[in-house]
Symmetry: C2
Subunit: 336 residues, 2 copies
């Protein structure tokens, strides 16, 4: 079996990664259709050595598509995803639009693949910062329930798309050259700075990014009241989110036991050899599909607590790889 696959937002940072990853993982693609906004009409992308022309995403363009990856903005997903689902395609959506919809499963295939079965045409892939945290804490939760989470993030410029990387690098060059940097994508200069402001401000003076980490974690772990407090911070790194995670468990959890559990968890690499200065680093995780975890130690301010440093490529496992893995699950389970 092979499938007609669409990518909406193929010219963006995450859409480009989806294209690459479908090829790398040899997803059974019969035909690839490339979509983007009207201003990219006629551009070309390359898939398995062949040129594919980009078309504006319209409901009609999706006739005959089996599966479609949405890596466009929320408004595009809101408008088009139900249209595609109506036409019989399964939508794997990377935007935040459908994530908290009770009729839409929110899936990390290593953690809650069974939720895929409940889909009604749309499946959501979580926020990048949620995925980087959950890949680390869900395997621990499955052997010793989590009671609360405090997390502070060190998020990369590419969380704001490819233009975020370009802006960071231009700002860095301006600062080094003694020029005044300008900003457009970010609310302030990001180069040589730390911005405690990712996305927009929402309820209770939390940012929407911080609230996503809380709400998506609750949905994926099926723990609707789990206390999760996040401070999301953008730092001058092009790719990969790093996170300092503090977790309270129901019972004591030794760092050694946590290392054993995580070493056996799919998609997770334990890198925790501090004597040799080996711990997860944003720069090393970039381009990788695994989530890297280290600095595992007892959290001395929480009961039965662990402190953990978790790092992953926000464009790959944090976005594109996870979406492609959802599609792979659909195929292998015969749900497509």
């Amino acid at each position: 079996m092979s499938y007609t696959v669409g990518i909406v937002g193929v010219t963006g940072a995450v859409g480009g990664e989806v294209l690459k990853i479908l090829e790398e993982r040899n997803f059974p693609v019969k035909e690839l259709r490339a979509f983007a906004s009207a201003r990219s009409e006629g551009m070309q992308v390359t898939f398995k050595g062949e040129k594919v022309t980009v078309h504006e995403a319209t409901p009609e363009g999706f006739e005959g598509v089996d599966i479609v990856f949405f890596s466009a903005g929320g408004s595009t997903s809101k408008r088009l995803a139900p249209e595609e689902a109506k036409r019989g395609a399964v939508v794997v959506d990377k935007s935040s639009t459908w994530r908290m919809d009770p009729n839409v499963p929110l899936v990390i295939p290593e953690i809650n693949p069974e939720d895929i079965a409940t889909h009604q045409g749309i499946i959501s892939s979580p926020n990048c910062s949620t995925i980087v945290m959950l890949m680390t804490i869900a395997p621990l939760h499955s052997v010793n329930p989590i009671k609360r989470i405090i997390v502070d993030t060190y998020q990369s410029a590419s969380g704001a798309g490819g233009k975020g990387i370009v802006e960071l690098m231009q700002q860095a060059r301006d600062v080094l050259d003694g020029k005044q940097p300008t900003h457009d994508t970010f609310p302030h200069t990001l180069a040589f700075n730390a911005l405690p402001h990712v996305e927009n401000f929402g309820d209770d003076d939390y940012t929407t990014e911080e609230l996503k980490m809380r709400d998506e974690t609750r949905k994926i772990l099926h723990q609707p009241n789990l206390p999760v407090s996040a401070t999301c911070v953008r730092i001058p790194v092009p790719i990969s989110h790093s996170e300092a995670v503090h977790i309270e468990f129901e019972r004591p959890f030794s760092p050694d036991e946590a290392r054993r559990v995580l070493a056996a968890a799919p998609g997770v690499i334990v890198q925790d050899d501090i004597r040799n200065k080996s711990y997860p680093l944003a720069m090393d995780a970039a381009g990788k599909d695994e989530i890297f975890v280290g600095r595992i130690r007892k959290d001395i301010a929480l009961d039965n607590g662990l402190s953990i440093w978790s790092v992953g490529d926000n464009l790959r496992k944090g976005a594109a790889t996870n979406a492609v893995q959802i599609a792979e699950s659909l195929v292998t389970k015969g749900w497509l």
Copy 2:
């Protein structure tokens, strides 16, 4: 009254700030003596428009000195500080050597000035990351006792001295120019990266920087068992440490009440107008003596919790300014 003042480590990042700040704040200096390691012998620094020759720090060089600031390494403080104290000088030490000595007060003048009175010749100034956090939480603690603290830091390159800034900037230029960056001061490339490794690894797989935040907080607040869990992370910022602080209090603490308490706290500036994208930023805090605090909100994972973002210049209030303020307290209280 005016005093003979010495600075040990005057050619370093913090020593240079002490020199500037003594002049800015018009500390009553009768004579300034500049000391550094043997390799700086004969260099000159400028104080109030006059050249002062740097000499190698030796016990004999301190005869007649009333007060001496140590901003050199720990081994220099260990060797020379008791010698100077014996000769009648009061030593204000910025190294970690004496901080946990029960006979040495550890002082932030806005918080525990009364501890200065117990000195026996040496007074310690806390670690920069401790000062940035305590300036924010001590005023809150004094109206509603703190029960536990979880903190994750975003620390600047200058925490490793002036050479840290130089290395960061060179690495950034190398990355932008497509060259392979090298590292010497930091354990890995810091530019465009995040290193969960500040100082050395110590007990229980915590770094010495993380343990300082715990132990110094306990000593300054006179709370010997306070649970404090820190993850200390170096990020590519030249000056200013930022910190995400999560605090549990004995009783409920509304964000509005916390803002009122902090607005009245000396040396603290509340910058918390998120609708106008106004919150503390490392880049803005650099060169300032105040600690900036914002993103004040209920911590949804702690009982009676607050989440706070605290930022300060690690070379100034985090080091030099605090040391000079200790000296000012000695003068105004007549303890010199």
